[in-house]
């Protein structure tokens, strides 16, 4: 009797555990997005906003909606766009203070405490994958209703509390970082190091976003990235993105 195949989420968790046993420089984190499975539900975008407590105007993983053709020959596709974590990132050499760089695992990270907010990296990124944090909160325009169960003083608790990108505590009090900084997707490094998949991967209802260590030949992603129907965005620029799309 044939064994039932494992859910891909289970497999990716196992891949993740194996990768975390290796030295950071031996891992090659990649993301594979199967555009044939993406239904454009934007759950990944929302999961990312919730996980990283992104304020208004900051987005790490929008889903681009593209329409082609004219009736009756039309099609619509959805292209989630995280940071490409390029192996030749144009955003890092332009930073005047080395606040953004590829870490040992090959993820392009931002040192919020070093960043001066010049936005040169936003200009340089060919994918528009960085946004600037201008210090908004979703709840700031809510009325203050003392004693009520709704109102700013209760509903903003979530936004006022710190987030934990890069494994550090980032409070938005007193306009401190990451307000004023460039921000970007970091493949949820803080989750990865705790053995959890990125929020967008866990949340994807169609199992369209896959993640893992491409250096591990047994991983899900290693099986996929060399298929003939794989593309990478703006590959002609030579940025060597680590995000692969199955089309």
């Amino acid at each position: 009797m044939a064994q039932e195949p494992k859910d891909v989420l289970v497999r990716m968790h196992e891949d993740l555990q194996r990768a975390l046993e290796k030295a950071p420089e031996d891992r090659r984190w990649v993301m594979v997005i199967d555009l044939r499975k993406c239904v454009g539900c934007h759950a990944c975008t929302i999961a990312c906003v919730a996980e990283n407590k992104l304020p208004p105007g900051v987005v790490y993983r929008p889903v681009l909606e593209q329409e082609r053709g004219t009736y009756p020959n039309v099609s619509r596709s959805f292209v989630p766009r995280p940071c490409m974590q390029c192996d030749n990132p144009p955003c890092t050499p332009v930073c005047p203070v080395t606040a953004t760089y590829k870490n040992a695992e090959g993820i392009v990270v931002v040192d919020y405490e070093q960043c001066i907010g010049c936005r040169a990296c936003l200009v340089a990124c060919p994918y528009g994958a960085r946004t600037s944090d201008f210090g908004y909160t979703y709840t700031e325009d809510l009325p203050v209703l003392e004693g009520a169960i709704v109102g700013r003083e209760t509903s903003d608790d979530y936004e006022v509390a710190a987030n934990y990108e890069y494994g550090k505590e980032w409070s938005r009090a007193n306009h401190g970082s990451p307000i004023g900084n460039a921000r970007k997707c970091h493949f949820c490094l803080h989750r990865i190091h705790e053995g959890e998949l990125p929020a967008c991967v866990s949340t994807c209802i169609g199992r369209a976003t896959l993640y893992g260590d491409a250096n591990d030949p047994d991983s899900v992603v290693a099986e996929l990235i060399n298929l003939p129907n794989v593309i990478r965005l703006k590959e002609e620029l030579g940025t060597e993105p680590r995000v692969y799309y199955l089309v």
């Binding site: 975008t45 208004p56 105007g57 900051v58 987005v59 929008p62 889903v63 681009l64 909606e65 593209q66 292209v79 766009r81 144009p90 050499p93 332009v94 930073c95 005047p96 203070v97 080395t98 606040a99 070093q114 960043c115 001066i116 907010g117 010049c118 936005r119 040169a120 936003l122 200009v123 340089a124 990124c125 060919p126 994918y127 528009g128 960085r130 946004t131 600037s132 944090d133 201008f134 210090g135 908004y136 306009h175 970082s177 307000i179 004023g180 900084n181 460039a182 965005l233 620029l237």
Partner: protein
């Protein structure tokens, strides 16, 4: 004795009545601009950056454009100063200090403008402590810092030891820095291969030429409105020379603009055509056709051709102002439209929020800050020039 003391005291201090009508008028304009800028400067420094028009897709706006413009004026002014002190052009005798002072005033104004654009301006010290010299931005910060020191040293020599051999060495260093730094601001944009409209060799090449043209225009203002000459013949010769140089530079400017835009047009590459259309026909058409071309280029060119106006003190200064306004618009026309391109098809409509759009027009805050910075620079230039006596006013007039 008492009379001498009176003259000395008057020449060192500030006396509104000792100012010429032109100086008083320009100070009044500078003061109004600065007052209009106080709200913006206060808001930006003590409230934050939220009320700006730029954002995450149109990343750089008016403040970056003004930085490019004012840095060009500063380096161009230095290029003018070397004509007197390094190349000993007799016609420019007596103008060098005013040019150097202009450079010393406009460079901090340029840095103030770009400083306002930083999300964390308090961390600018990081560029000195942990610089990434692969970044042109870091090179520029260091370059401008050194350039400012060189301008200060040059000005000191100009006042104290104008004939020293070391002065020439400083001037050569400053001259080369002025050329490379003026080109560097173009390269700052040009290195972004992701922005095809900028990423052409022509972009950085044209900036030193435009910087020199800015310096020439500023000198037209200085010579026309502020400078005193013992021999009015020198002013006339300067008008003629500056006029011819301005015409040559305007023609060069038109040619470069044609080369730049026609290259974009004939390429028909979409990422290049979007900014091209924005400039020529789109949202920024008025800035290009009315300010950059008509006010900044064609009208000054016509006025230069009319000797009666070109050699008139008021009109010569007015031509200088028009050309400078045209250059300011030209910088904006380089910066804004290039960022109105969708980096990926559908990106601007994929997620909505503040500062996530590709349409840009400077906000009231940005205009206010810019007025404040330029007003401050105007006040500093005229009042400082009065204090340092760089306009060569005869002492008898000071009384």
């Amino acid at each position: 004795m008492a009379k001498n003391q009176e003259v000395k005291a008057a020449s060192k201090g500030f006396n509104w009545k000792s100012l010429t009508k032109a100086e008083q008028s320009v100070i009044a304009i500078g003061a109004v601009a600065f007052i209009l800028g106080i709200w913006g400067l206060y808001t930006r420094l003590f409230v934050g950056e939220r009320e700006v028009g730029y954002g995450s897709y149109v990343v750089w706006g008016l403040w970056v454009s003004m930085y490019l413009f004012l840095a060009g004026v500063a380096t161009g002014s230095y290029m003018i100063a070397v004509l007197e002190y390094l190349f000993n052009v007799p016609m420019f005798k007596g103008t060098g200090k005013a040019a150097l002072w202009a450079g010393l005033v406009t460079m901090p104004a340029a840095l103030a403008s770009i400083g306002m654009d930083l999300g964390h301006m308090d961390r600018i010290v990081n560029v000195y402590l942990r610089p990434n010299f692969m970044s042109l931005l870091a090179q520029m910060v260091w370059g401008y810092t050194l350039f400012l020191l060189v301008v200060i040293v040059t000005l000191w020599f100009a006042f104290k030891r104008p004939s020293g051999a070391f002065f020439k060495v400083v001037l050569w260093i400053g001259f080369f820095m002025a050329i490379f730094l003026s080109g560097g601001v173009g390269a700052l944009l040009g290195v972004n291969a992701s922005r095809p409209y900028w990423s052409v060799g022509l972009l950085s090449v044209q900036f030193p030429i435009f910087a020199f043209a800015s310096g020439v225009s500023l000198m037209l203002i200085v010579v026309g409105w502020f400078m005193h000459f013992n021999d009015e013949e020198q002013r006339y010769h300067l008008f003629r020379w500056l006029g011819w140089v301005a015409i040559a530079l305007s023609l060069a400017k038109i040619y470069i603009l044609w080369a730049y835009l026609s290259q974009a047009w004939y390429s028909q590459v979409p990422d290049v055509m979007v900014p091209f259309n924005e400039i020529i026909f789109g949202e920024y058409w008025w800035s290009f056709w009315i300010i950059q071309i008509a006010i900044g280029t064609v009208i000054p060119l016509v006025l230069h051709m009319i000797p009666k106006l070109a050699h008139n003190k008021f009109w010569a200064g007015a031509i200088g102002v028009m050309v400078l306004v045209g250059f300011a618009a030209a910088r904006a026309n380089i910066v804004f439209p290039a960022m109105s391109v969708e980096m990926l098809d559908g990106l601007p409509t994929a997620f909505f929020g503040p500062h996530l759009n590709i349409r840009y027009f400077p906000s009231v805050l940005e205009w206010s800050v810019t007025l404040g910075v330029i007003g401050g620079a105007i006040l500093a230039f005229v009042l400082g020039a009065e204090f340092l006596a760089v306009f060569n006013k005869p002492k008898t007039e000071v009384k």
